[in-house]
């Protein structure tokens, strides 16, 4: 079984075609870097994979499931097993780090519990179960931020807050993480730290990682394969060992 199978995927808004006939397959546990210039369709592609954006045509299978046929409930179950990390981190500013991490467990708890609305316990760390709190502290330990558990999220530095977002994604016990320019807002040192931590965590837990980046060095270093999009079309999909930096830079022309 493959993590992702995309066939003939297209997406257009009104008469503007963002993605055109894109097909590719990603194996379980692989790490894929998506590159392409601004507006090429990277983010749209990523959003289509969890149907945050609805594709216009084509089919997408995620771990064998045809997700375009899912209705609300099934879609939510599917999403709860896929972690998403954003360029803007998207933590809730006024809440503690620990609460933000525990939020990652809301959807999962809805699914595994036999009680309806079980996940609402995870709205805050005050009401969450001890098991969940412990799990969240372990997730924070993995990104080495457990000492900031009760600090408010809006007091963190950029690198710290993105690591909290990664801990939140790990809380979902995901089999795949999608990251849209996860380190674009960080300084080069923090960006390298966060990216290598992110990569190591995913490799250790056999999580499939798909990330977009403008940094071609990151793409080669942390992607087993590189997928390039140019004007909405798939222009390159190759093993990163067999690619030279120059080839990738050419994708931006």
């Amino acid at each position: 079984m493959n993590a992702i199978e995309v066939k003939h995927l297209s997406k257009s808004y009104a008469d503007f075609e963002v993605l055109r006939d894109i097909s590719f397959t990603i194996g379980v546990g692989e790490s894929i870097a998506i590159i392409g210039s601004n507006g090429a369709g990277k983010s749209t592609l990523l959003k289509c994979l969890t149907r945050i954006t609805e594709p216009s045509q084509g089919s997408i299978n995620v771990f064998g499931d045809p997700i375009l046929k899912f209705r609300t409930g099934a879609l939510r179950r599917m999403r709860s097993s896929i972690g998403v990390v954003f360029q803007k981190h998207n933590l809730v500013p006024r809440l503690s780090v620990l609460t933000n991490v525990i939020h990652g467990d809301i959807g999962r708890l809805h699914n595994v519990s036999k009680f309806p609305l079980a996940g609402i316990r995870n709205w805050g760390q005050i009401s969450a179960s001890n098991r969940t709190r412990k799990k969240a502290m372990e997730a924070l330990e993995m990104v080495s931020l457990s000492h900031l558990a009760l600090q408010r999220a809006d007091t963190l530095s950029g690198g710290q807050s993105q690591r909290v977002a990664i801990a939140r994604a790990l809380m979902q016990e995901p089999n795949m993480i999608l990251a849209d320019e996860p380190v674009a807002s960080l300084d080069p040192v923090a960006a390298n730290d966060v990216m290598s931590l992110f990569y190591d965590l995913c490799k250790n837990k056999n999580i499939t990682l798909i990330f977009t980046s403008h940094n071609v060095e990151h793409a080669l270093e942390y992607g087993n394969k590189v997928l390039a999009i140019k004007n909405g079309r798939l222009s390159l999909f190759k093993d990163s060992n067999s690619i030279e930096i120059k080839t990738l830079q050419a994708e931006y022309d």
Binding site: I82, N90, I106, G107, D154, Q172
Partner: protein, 295 residues
Amino acid sequence: MTDSPIDIDKKSELNNLPRRYKKISITRYFIYLALIVMVIWSFQGSQFSFEGLLDSTQYFKRFLGEAFPSIGILGENEHSITWKDTFRYTRELIETFQMAFTGTLLGIIFGFILALLSSKGLLGNSRPMRLVQETVKALILLFRTVPDLVWAIIFVMLVGLGAFAGTLTIMVDTIGFCGRFFAEEMEDVDKSPADALESCGATKLDATFAAVVPAAMPGLITTSLFAFEKAIRGSVVLGLVGAGGIGMSLNALFNWMAYDRAMVIIGMIFALIFVVEQVSQYLRRKVTQNEEKRI
């Protein structure tokens, strides 16, 4: 003359002076004209006259004389206040505060629920949900647009004279106020954290309570404090139609033309409102400062 660095007598360059006024279009001209006509027309309809104001000086003097009697006649006056009266007025003032507080609290709770239901796209975007949102929005509008005195008259009719009618009035008024502004605050919050939660399997309800409400909290608190200030001010006049509180005594005293006593009550009301506004203002400043410190 020649030592001026600017030579304004240089004739040749004077043609390019900027225009003093902008040219206005015909429509704008008519809008201005209409505004002027409206001012005149409104003054006429409102019977505003300086003459009337000046003619009333003798009544004004009489009122002031009776409202602030000289110290000498204090004690022998028919209206002079005993300790018993003071206690009664204080009790009524406390009742006014209690009405305002209970009414505001209930209004905040129900207003919050209605705000959740009326905020665009907060709890859902399906067609039936949008219908609910529009309906609740109309309901809040109704609560807000009908003046509180009208609500008071209605509630006095329904539950009888007294503080309960006043409390219900303040509740409805606060629902209208908080319902609208809570909804606006929640709509204005940055939605990306909420979207992030939804994209990992949380429901709209989860995203609302875990991400939107916490982010909107400072705004919700300051709006609630404003609502309480408004309720304290509003609760005083509710007594005029019999809906409890110190306003009932005030009304009675005015009817008996006991202006000196009425002044005492107005002073007490002033003190209450002043204290509540100061405390509320202090708390609001605390809340906003607390937020600024973090950023």
